[in-house]
């Protein structure tokens, strides 16, 4: 009850300040991206920046409400909230509205809500709840599989909505599992198989296998005194070679041509500038032409004249890069790095396991969005449509990220009350 009377007490103002800075940068960038002479007022509700202001204000209200909620509520209602979200995800598949090829929207008046955005924090609550239970040990396969199940269900439902980007977000929980004791080898195996998978499709499998053989020869030579290690290395070589060959065969013989070409676009092998490559090309032009200090507020020609698609949502970073240049881009990246590191530090100081796991969940989700989104706009990663947290235009995503973050801020502010 003490916390109710003074909600400002024990709140981490670092997080709140970074959050406010990001939301503000986002709002200004949306204004710059959508700006046109006929609608000059940033408060014009017929335009995206006016609407975003509504989302920002309502997000503040949501943040307040969370800070006023009892901490125990989140831990106690973790599973019910998760179940409710799963129902929403199923419902949207049946009753939802299709926008831009994804059936992930509930139309509410002139706005639309996207349940997949809210599923993130719900899943995070469920994962934290499950992993903090007493008989949990991530060295056991059963525990791993159960946690995986909590993640796979929402991911699959979102995948069915044809929103691949949001579905992939759940893979980021691997970091949470890693922090909570998942053997490091699993992380390495997953990483290696992803690399091999991409290599198998990018270059001829023969070359990948040749590279692997070479690597094995070097490693075998280095461990020549240990027969057992040598045997293991050879075994790994055989397995990974078979894996590479299998992936390549599956790609060429099991997939339809249109599926193959979609993957080729993702891998950057298809560089058709009129097609899928167009977005990245225009995005690079926008950011690249920004130079050191940028073209100045509202002077970005690429963004202002709509050369970059989705520039107020997924490609919002282009506006920052074009109008504020290298300085502005580095500022935004620094804000994200600072936010994530601050979240890790705060998570580690939690006494409650639930709070810590939830904190790592927030880090994982935000990091995944940050990495994939910026890498995509910088042409380092295939175009996967996910928003940049707190900056991209969109009510559902801003609400959901605000809830995600402020639940942790609330949990953190209460950490001393946990015995």
């Amino acid at each position: 009850m003490k916390s109710r009377t003074n909600i400002g007490k024990n709140i981490d103002w670092w997080l709140v300040t970074i959050y406010l800075a990001m939301v503000l940068i986002g709002w200004i960038s949306i204004y710059a991206a959508v700006y046109d002479e006929d609608h000059k007022s940033i408060l014009d509700l017929s335009q995206n920046y006016g609407k975003q202001l509504v989302w920002i204000i309502t997000s503040f209200v949501l943040a307040m409400m969370i800070l006023l909620t009892d901490t125990k509520f989140f831990s106690a209602f973790a599973f019910p909230i998760y179940i409710l979200m799963l129902f929403m995800l199923v419902a949207v598949l049946i009753f939802g509205k299709e926008i831009g090829g994804s059936r992930s929207w509930f139309p509410i008046g002139q706005f639309s809500l996207q349940p997949s955005e809210f599923a993130k924090f719900a899943t995070n609550l469920a994962v934290a709840k499950y992993l903090s239970s007493l008989n949990m040990d991530l060295k056991k396969l059963k525990s791993v599989l159960r946690s995986a199940l909590i993640l796979v269900i929402p991911s699959l439902l979102i995948f069915l909505q044809n929103d691949t980007g949001s579905a992939l977000v759940y893979s980021s929980f691997i970091f949470v599992l890693y922090r909570e004791g998942l053997p490091g080898e699993v992380l390495i195996i997953i990483f290696v198989s992803i690399v091999l998978f991409i290599l198998a499709l990018l270059v001829k499998p023969v070359w990948v296998i040749a590279g692997l053989v070479l690597l094995t020869v070097v490693l075998v030579y280095l461990s020549r005194r240990n027969i057992r290690n040598m045997a293991i290395l050879v075994l790994i070589l055989i397995i990974s070679s078979a894996y590479v060959e299998g992936v390549s065969y599956g790609f060429r013989h099991l997939l339809e041509p249109h599926q193959q070409s979609r993957i080729n676009v993702l891998l950057g092998k298809d560089t058709n500038l009129q097609g899928a490559g167009y977005n990245v090309h225009q995005s690079l032009i926008a950011i690249g032409s920004g130079g050191f200090t940028g073209k100045g507020f509202l002077n970005g020609t690429q963004t202002k004249f709509n050369f970059v698609p989705a520039q107020s949502t997924d490609f919002i970073f282009c506006t920052v890069g074009e109008e504020w240049g290298f300085i502005g881009s580095i500022a935004v990246i620094s804000l994200f790095v600072a936010l994530l590191i601050r979240l890790i530090i705060l998570s580690e100081r939690q006494r409650s396991q639930f709070s810590r796991i939830y904190g790592y969940g927030v880090v994982s989700i935000l990091f995944f969005h940050f990495m994939v989104n910026i890498a995509m706009t910088l042409g380092l990663f295939p175009v996967i449509g996910i928003p940049l947290p707190f900056l991209s235009y969109g009510g559902s995503s801003l609400w959901a990220f605000t809830i995600l973050l402020f639940i942790f801020i609330k949990l953190d502010s209460y950490r001393l009350n946990v015995l």
């Binding site: 970091f175 890693y178 922090r179 909570e180 004791g181 225009q282 690079l284 032009i285 926008a286 950011i287 690249g288 032409s289 920004g290 130079g291 050191f292 020609t301 690429q302 202002k304 004249f305 709509n306 050369f307 890069g321 240049g325 290298f326 881009s329 580095i330 990246i333 620094s334 994200f336 790095v337 994530l340 590191i341 890790i344 998570s347 580690e348 396991q353 810590r356 790592y360 880090v363 990091f367 940050f370 990495m371 910026i374 890498a375 910088l378 380092l380």
Partner: protein, 607 residues
């Protein structure tokens, strides 16, 4: 608690990955924003459209400020092939009025120039079509209309003088970076020689466009825009009325008229016949008409006044006389007989008493007389050899600007020919030619060649009693509202002024005396001076030539007329010259009996 401690150091891995990601992004941003400038160029290409502002070409006025050339707005349909995309070709062809094959051809042509830069798709659409096409153009991305100006000629005269404009050719673009594909340039006449004066200066507008190529205003509020500066107007020496009359008189004849104001060197009229209507060489019809005109066997595009070279025939006797007087081998009182030894090589063709004095010889154009004059000049004991005396003769002749160009304000001109002694050395052998060998020169035949402009200038020199101003076409240039008069050089011949009087007396007798070769064309109100010439033409009927100036005192006009294959100088050239003089001095005059005869004469396809 134990478990937490066990894995706490894993946070270092997490923080490491986050910082690594941040660093990768920073390096990438550093590369694309600070090192690679390719993106800066691409951004400019995306958004900036450079629109050339074409200035109006200068107008042309005649000596009485009568408009001869002006501009009319025309519209070129431009295309940027890369932006053409999903258009209804059939509807488009229908709109422009072309076939699908033409459409394909034009698109290939445009693409060969550039896919990214606009080039002319359809030249000079009319005003009426423009309004119609402009309305529908939004349906056809990649096309836009560029405003241009077309030359217009209120009266269809002076095509050769004014010249025409056309699209620049690749060599012209290479020679001068001012020109870009699709620009217009003067191709002949004054349009060519005064190109830099009348073209003005192109301006540039930089517009911004959005992703749909819609205009979004001026780049940097027009900071880098330049305004087109209109071309300067030309005030030319031509009298449009006289020019028109001359063209009328020369209808259905081959030849040329050049009229000069002796006191200034201003060319009053310059007619080359057959001529063409300058309105034929503008706009969309230009290339079709150009092909038609350039393949015409009568060569209507050939400017005879400047480019045709004829032997001067008997008109050259005037120069003979002047050189003889200057060399003091001839006096006005000198008489030569038409018969006997002296007249052996060149016989007289007329019936007259003999011997004649200088003025009478000019009046009657007596061949033996001028052969004798020439002989005395070349065989002058003053000089050590024929070559030396010939060189002297040649220099005196060339001081009338014969055998060389004027280097005046016309883009083309021929020099004519006064043979070099080396020519005769080569032809006959060194020192093996005498006055007798080259006697044809005395009556303006042989290797002598002159252009109609040179002949008119010789007449002007005589009218001026010994000097001339370089004949020219432009009197003044209108620069920003004020008129800047051009000054032209005065040149003296090497013949003293006093020697011109007897020659002029002879020339006035051509009209006034009982045996004058142009006595039928005399006019009581103007005292005219002239000289006929009949040029032997090995290819057909003789050319008819006439030189004249008037009035005798204080001359206003000097003129040369050449009518090809017309026979005697007195038959066609003399009446035409007389009519021109009447027209210029009197403006309105009672039509003499021979005007109708001249107008009705067709020497090109006689019935």
């Amino acid at each position: 608690m134990i478990r937490k401690k066990a894995y706490e150091n894993r946070k270092v891995v997490m923080i490491g990955i986050i910082i690594l990601t941040g660093m990768v992004f920073t390096i990438r941003l550093f590369y694309i924003q600070l090192i690679n400038d390719k993106y800066l160029l691409s951004a400019a290409n995306n958004v900036l459209r450079y629109m050339t502002q074409y200035p109006a070409r200068g107008m042309v006025f005649d000596r009485n400020r009568k408009l001869m050339v002006y501009n009319e707005t025309a519209y070129d349909l431009m295309v940027t092939p890369r932006l053409v995309h999903k258009i209804d070709t059939l509807e488009f062809c229908h709109l422009i009025g072309i076939t699908r094959d033409e459409f394909k051809k034009k698109m290939i042509r445009a693409r060969n120039y550039s896919s990214y830069r606009a080039s002319v798709f359809e030249e000079q659409i009319s005003k009426e079509n423009y309004g119609y096409i402009e309305e529908k153009l939004f349906k056809f991305p990649g096309f836009y209309v560029q405003q241009r100006t077309l030359r217009k000629y209120p009266s269809p005269i002076a095509g050769h003088i004014l010249g025409y404009i056309g699209e620049v050719s690749p060599p012209e673009i290479e020679a001068n970076p001012y020109y870009k594909q699709g620009d217009y340039i003067g191709k002949s006449g004054l349009e060519k020689s005064y190109e830099e004066v009348i073209r003005g200066k192109k301006g540039l507008k930089i517009k911004m466009v959005d992703v749909f190529n819609r205009e979004k205003g001026n780049y940097m509020e027009g900071k880098y825009d330049t305004v087109a500066i209109p071309g300067n107007d030309l005030y030319i020496t031509i009298d449009a009325e006289l020019q028109a009359y001359g063209e009328l008189l020369m209808q259905n004849k081959r030849g040329s008229i050049v009229a000069i104001e002796p006191s200034t060197g201003e060319i009053l009229a310059m007619i080359s016949s057959p001529t063409y209507d300058p309105n034929l060489l503008i706009g969309r019809v230009r290339s079709k008409n150009y092909n038609m005109l350039s393949t015409d066997t009568l060569k209507p595009l050939f400017n005879r006044a400047l480019l045709a070279q004829y032997p001067p025939g008997s008109t050259f006797k005037l120069v003979d006389a002047l050189v003889g007087l200057q060399e003091e081998v001839l006096t006005p009182e000198t008489r030569y007989s038409c018969g006997g030894v002296g007249a052996t090589p060149i016989k007289c063709s007329h019936n007259h008493y003999s011997p004649l004095s200088l003025v009478e010889a000019i009046e009657q154009s007596c061949n033996p007389y001028f052969w004798n004059v020439f002989r005395t000049i070349i065989d002058n004991r003053k000089y050590r050899s024929t070559t030396e005396s010939y060189i002297n003769w040649r220099e005196l002749v060339m001081s009338f600007n014969l055998g060389k160009t004027f280097n005046t304000d016309m883009p083309v001109e021929k020099s004519g020919n006064v043979p070099d002694p080396a020519y005769y050395d080569k032809y006959f052998g060194k020192n093996s030619w005498r006055s007798m060998t080259i006697r044809s020169l005395s009556i303006g035949q042989g290797e002598l060649l002159v252009t109609p402009l040179q002949l008119a200038n010789v007449t002007a020199i005589i009218a001026n009693r010994g000097f001339y101003y370089v004949p020219h076409l432009v009197r003044a240039i209108g620069i920003e509202g004020r008129i800047e008069v051009k000054n032209w050089e005065r040149k003296n011949t090497r013949v003293s002024s006093k020697f011109f009087y007897p020659v002029i007396d002879g020339m006035s007798r051509v009209f006034d005396a009982g045996h004058g070769t142009a006595r039928y064309y005399r006019n009581d109100s103007i005292q005219m001076c002239g000289k006929t010439g009949t040029v032997q033409n090995p290819h057909g009927k003789d050319h008819s030539i006439f030189l004249a100036f008037a009035p005798k005192d204080n001359p206003k006009i000097a003129i040369s007329v050449i009518v090809e294959n017309a026979g005697f100088g007195s038959t066609y050239a003399a009446p035409i010259a007389t009519l021109m003089i009447n027209k210029y001095i009197l403006r309105e005059f009672e039509k003499p009996w021979f005007e109708e005869k001249i107008l009705n004469t067709n020497l090109i396809s006689p019935n």
